[in-house]
Amino acid sequence: MKREKKLIFEISKPGRKSYSLPKLDWIQKDVSDLIPEKLLREKPPELPEVCEIDLVRHYTELSKRNHGVDSGFYPLGSCTMKYNPKVNENISRFKGFTKIHPYQWEETVQGALQLMYEMNDYLCEISGMDYITLQPAAGSHGELTGLMVIKAYLNHIGEGHRYKVLVPDSAHGTNPASAAMCGFEVKEIKSNARGCVDIDELKAQADENTAALMLTNPNTLGLFEEDILEISEIVHQAGGLLYYDGANANAIMGITRPGDMGFDVVHFNLHKTFSTPHGGGGPGAGPVGVKEKLEPFLPVPRIEKHSEKDFYYLDYNKPLSIGRVRVFYGNFGVITKAYAYIRAVGPEGLKKVSEYAVLNANYLMSQLKKYYFLPYDRCCKHEFVVSGKKQAKHGVRALDIAKRLIDYGYHPPTIYFPLIVQEALMIEPTETESLETLDEFINAMKQIAEEAEKTPEKVKNAPYTTVVGRLDEVTAARKPKTRWTRV
C-alpha cells in the first residue's frame, strides 16, 4: 500500500461524475424564475468530480488504512470493543426500520414504538431502574440529560441551591464536563489506596450543597466500589443523588444492578455494553434510567402503551419535563441493534457476557502483571490498569508501548487514563475474545517488555508497519489545517 494517500479532491477531474437523476423535462421553469439572484450561489461548492469506480476504490483504500474490531483485537479500556454481530446490521436495515419518517402518524409506526417501549422495559430490568428515556445520542449526552433531570428535580423540591457535583479523580472526563455544562460546580473526590472512593473525603465533601455524586462502578480502574452502600448512604443522607455512569456496565449484567446499589440515575452506552458498533466514533446511544421520583422530569416525548387498545403512542404531556435533548426520539437505528442483541442472547446470555468479560480481564491481568507494574493488585472486573513504570526506567513510555503493539497487530489499550495511574495502560478484553487471542496478546506484551529493557529505541520509534509513522501532533495543533484547499 502506498504511504501517502491522495485526497478525493486530488483524484477529482472536471467532467467526471457518478450521479444520475431522472429527467425533468415536464417542468419548463428555471431556477432563476423562482429564487432572486441575490440569494443564488455564484460559485459552485468545490465538491469532487469522480466516477463511481474512483469513489469505491478511494473509500476501499481508506478502509484498509483503518483498524476495527473485525481487523483484530481491540482492548481499548472503557470502550468495550466487543464483537458487533452481523445479524444486527442486517436487521437495522430492514426497510420497515429505515424507511419510516419520524412524523408519521402513530398507527403507521406501531412496530417502531413497540420496539422502543420494550427496550425501555428491558433496560429497566437490567439496571433496576423504574423509567427510561432512549433520547440521548451518546453516553455523554446521557450524562447531560441525567444531570439536567437531577437539577430540575432539585429545583422542584426547593433544593435548587445545591450547586456541587462530586466526581472521583478516576472518572471519565465526560463526567465533570457534563456537570459543568449543566451549570454545576465540580468537586473532585480522591481515590484511596485501594483505588476506590475515599470515604472520609466523601463524607467531608457531601453536604447541604451537594446535588449529586457521579460514579462509575466498576470504576475506571476496573475495580468494584465495595463501599457502594455506604457511599450511597452518605450521598443520600446529605440530600444528594447518586448518578451511575454506565460505561462499565459490561461487568455487571445479571450480577448486580445500579438500581439495587442505590443509584437514582443511570445511563447506558448501547455502543459498548449492547454490542452496537462504534462507527469510528459514533453513532452511539445513551439511554437514561431513573427512579420513580425523577420520572416527571425526563425528556419528552415518552413512549407509552395503551394496554386495552394494545396501542403505542408518544406522550408529550409532561409539564415538569426538562424538554427535548435532540430532535425526534433517539438514535433509533442503534436502538434496533441493541434490542436485537438483548433478544438474541437473553437473560442467561447477558449474565454470561459479564462473567466472561470479567474472567477474560482477570486472566489477562494475572499474566501481564508478570511483566508490567500492577498498581492495584486485586480482583478486577471487566478491565484493569497496568502501569508502564518499570519500562519508563528505560525511557520507554506508555505511548511507546502502545505504538509498538500496533506492529504486533493490535489496537493499543487506552493510555494515560485514568489520570491517577502513572503511565497508565487501561486494558479491556471483552467477553468475545478467545483464550488464544488473549495468549497471543500476552506474548506480544511480554516481548515488548523485553524490548523495552534490551532495545528501548526499537519501542520508542514504533510503529514500523503502518502507512504512516508517528505524526506531529504539536504542529497540527499549533497551525491547524483542518480542510483541503486548492493550491
Binding site: 478502509s63 433478544r343 508517528r470
Partner: protein, 446 residues
C-alpha cells in the same frame, strides 16, 4: 445466540491461571445485599433464524415511505440514497472502529473526516468544520453555548421560523445556564427583521436564523446583512446542506457559525436517528468549537497524515473546562454524508437541489389552483411550502392515508396560530405521476 468463544477446557485453564475454582469468586467483592439473585426477567435468547423472523415481523408493523407516497419533511428528508453509500459504510474496518485516537491505524477514518470537513466548509462558505455532532438541534444548542462563551454575553435571539424542536432543544440546554432566549416573531412566514434589529444590542451573544426556514422559505439574508448594523453578536445560521448547492452560502452573508442537519446527505429517515449535526465556523472560533476536529500534519518521515487535533478543547483533557462534554459523535453518518457528496459531486448536488426546487414549486402552484387550498406566505421557498386549507388537517391527512399518502405536517402542532395549515415537502424522489396523484386526491377531499 452466543458470541462468546470459551470451551470447558478454556474455562478450566483460565480459572486455574487466575487461581479460582468458580467464576463467582471474581464477584466476591460485590456486597451480598446488592447481588442480583435469580434471573433477569427478559425474553429467552433465540437463534439467528428466530431473531430475524421476530424483528422482521416487528418491522412489518410499520408502514414505510415505500408503501406510501410521502410528503412529510420538517427536519427529516426523504432523498434518494445511492447504493454505494451503504457498501462503503458497511466496510467493517470503518464501522467496527472506535474514535481514531491512534492515528497510525486510523488514517482511513481520519482522512475521510478531513474530506468531510472540507465539503462542509465548501457548502457553507465557512473556514473550519468539526467532525460532526449528534444532530442539527444539538448542534445549534452547542453553537449557542459557543457564542455565549466567545462573546461573554448571555442573550440569544432566535427566530421563530427555526425548527420548533430545535428551539426546544436550545431551551433545554440553556435552562440552567442563565442564558436568555428571546424569540423573534415572523411575518408572512419570514423572520420579522424589524423585531430582530430592535432586540439586537451589545448584550446579545448571537442571533439565529434558519435558511431555508422551517416553512421552507429562503430567508432574505441579503437584506438582513445590509440592515443589521455592526455588532459583537455572532450570526448563527441553521442551513439545509442540499439547498446550499443552489443558494448563496451563509458565509457570504457574514455568518459566524453555520449548523444543520446532515441526514439528508445519504442517511436514511430511520424514524429520526441516527442523524448527524454539522457545524462550521469562522477560523477565529476554532478553539471554542465543540467535538472532534481532524487536522493535517506530517509523520516522522515527512509523509502527510491526519490526526485528531486541538484536543485541549475536549473533555478527556480539559474536563470541566472543556468547550463541551461531547465524546462520541456521529462519525459513520458523517462518512455516509461524505460519500454522498462525493457521489453527487459539484454538479450532481446542484441537480438534486434544482429538482427539489422545481418539483416543490410545481406542486405548490397546482395545489393553490385547487378550490380549498390557499397561499398564505410570501417569499421564495426551496423544497417545502405551507398551504392553508378549508379542511381540518387531521381529517385531510386521514383521507389521504386511505389513498396511501403521507400528507403534510399539521403546523398547528407547533404553531397554535396556524390552524388548518399544512407543511408539505417535495424532494427529487417524487415523480410527476405521484405529484398529480396527490393533487387529484387533495381535490377529491370533501
Amino acid at each position: 445466540m452466543d458470541f462468546t468463544p470459551h470451551t470447558e477446557e478454556d474455562l478450566r485453564k483460565m480459572k486455574m491461571a487466575i487461581g479460582i475454582e468458580k467464576i463467582d469468586e471474581l464477584f466476591s467483592d460485590i456486597p451480598e445485599e446488592v447481588k442480583f439473585k435469580g434471573k433477569l426477567n427478559l425474553p429467552e435468547g433465540v437463534s439467528e433464524q428466530e431473531l430475524v423472523n421476530l424483528l422482521k415481523q416487528l418491522s412489518q408493523k410499520n408502514t414505510t415511505t415505500e408503501d406510501y407516497i410521502n410528503f412529510l419533511g420538517a427536519g427529516a428528508y426523504e432523498h434518494f440514497i445511492p447504493s454505494v453509500i451503504d457498501h462503503v459504510i458497511s466496510r467493517s474496518e470503518f464501522y467496527t472502529s472506535y474514535t481514531p485516537y491512534q492515528p497510525e491505524i486510523s488514517q482511513g477514518m481520519l482522512q475521510a473526516i478531513f474530506e468531510y470537513q472540507t465539503m462542509i466548509c465548501e457548502l457553507t462558505g465557512m473556514e473550519v468544520s468539526n467532525a460532526s455532532l449528534y444532530d442539527g438541534a444539538s448542534a445549534l444548542a452547542e453553537a449557542v453555548e459557543m457564542a455565549c462563551n466567545f462573546t461573554g454575553n448571555k442573550k440569544i435571539l432566535v427566530s421563530r421560523t427555526i425548527h420548533p424542536e430545535y428551539l426546544q432543544v436550545v431551551k433545554t440546554y440553556t435552562q440552567f445556564r442563565d442564558i436568555e432566549i428571546i424569540e423573534v416573531p415572523w411575518v408572512k412566514g419570514n423572520t420579522d427583521l424589524e423585531a430582530l434589529i430592535k432586540n439586537l444590542d451589545d448584550k446579545t451573544a448571537a442571533y439565529v436564523i434558519q435558511y431555508p426556514n422551517f416553512f421552507g422559505i429562503v430567508e432574505d439574508l441579503d437584506t438582513l446583512q445590509t440592515r443589521v448594523e455592526k455588532n459583537n453578536a455572532l450570526f448563527i445560521v441553521v442551513a439545509d446542506p442540499i439547498s446550499l448547492a443552489l443558494l448563496k452560502p451563509p458565509g457570504d452573508f457574514g455568518a459566524d457559525i453555520v449548523v444543520g442537519e446532515g441526514q439528508s446527505l445519504g442517511n436514511p429517515l430511520q424514524f429520526g436517528g441516527p442523524y448527524l449535526g454539522f457545524m462550521a465556523a469562522k477560523k477565529k472560533l476554532i478553539r471554542k468549537m465543540p467535538g472532534r476536529i481532524v487536522g493535517e500534519t506530517k509523520d516522522v518521515n515527512n509523509v502527510r497524515g491526519y490526526v485528531l487535533t486541538l484536543q485541549t478543547r475536549e473533555q478527556h483533557i480539559r474536563r470541566e473546562r472543556a468547550t463541551s462534554n461531547i465524546c462520541s459523535n456521529e462519525a459513520l453518518c458523517a462518512l455516509a454524508a461524505a460519500v454522498y457528496l462525493t457521489y453527487m459531486g459539484k454538479k450532481g448536488l446542484r441537480a438534486v437541489a434544482e429538482q427539489c426546487l422545481l418539483k416543490a414549486n410545481y406542486l405548490y402552484e397546482n395545489i393553490c389552483k385547487l378550490e380549498h387550498y390557499h397561499k398564505v406566505f410570501d417569499g421564495p421557498f426551496f423544497k417545502e411550502f405551507v398551504v392553508k386549507t378549508d379542511h381540518d388537517v387531521e381529517y385531510l391527512n386521514k383521507e389521504l392515508q386511505k389513498h396511501r399518502i403521507f400528507g403534510g405536517l399539521n403546523l398547528e402542532r407547533f404553531y397554535p396560530e396556524l390552524k388548518n395549515h399544512l407543511l408539505v415537502c417535495v424532494t427529487e424522489t417524487k415523480t410527476k405521476q405521484e405529484l398529480d396523484y396527490f393533487l387529484a386526491r387533495l381535490e377529491g377531499i370533501v
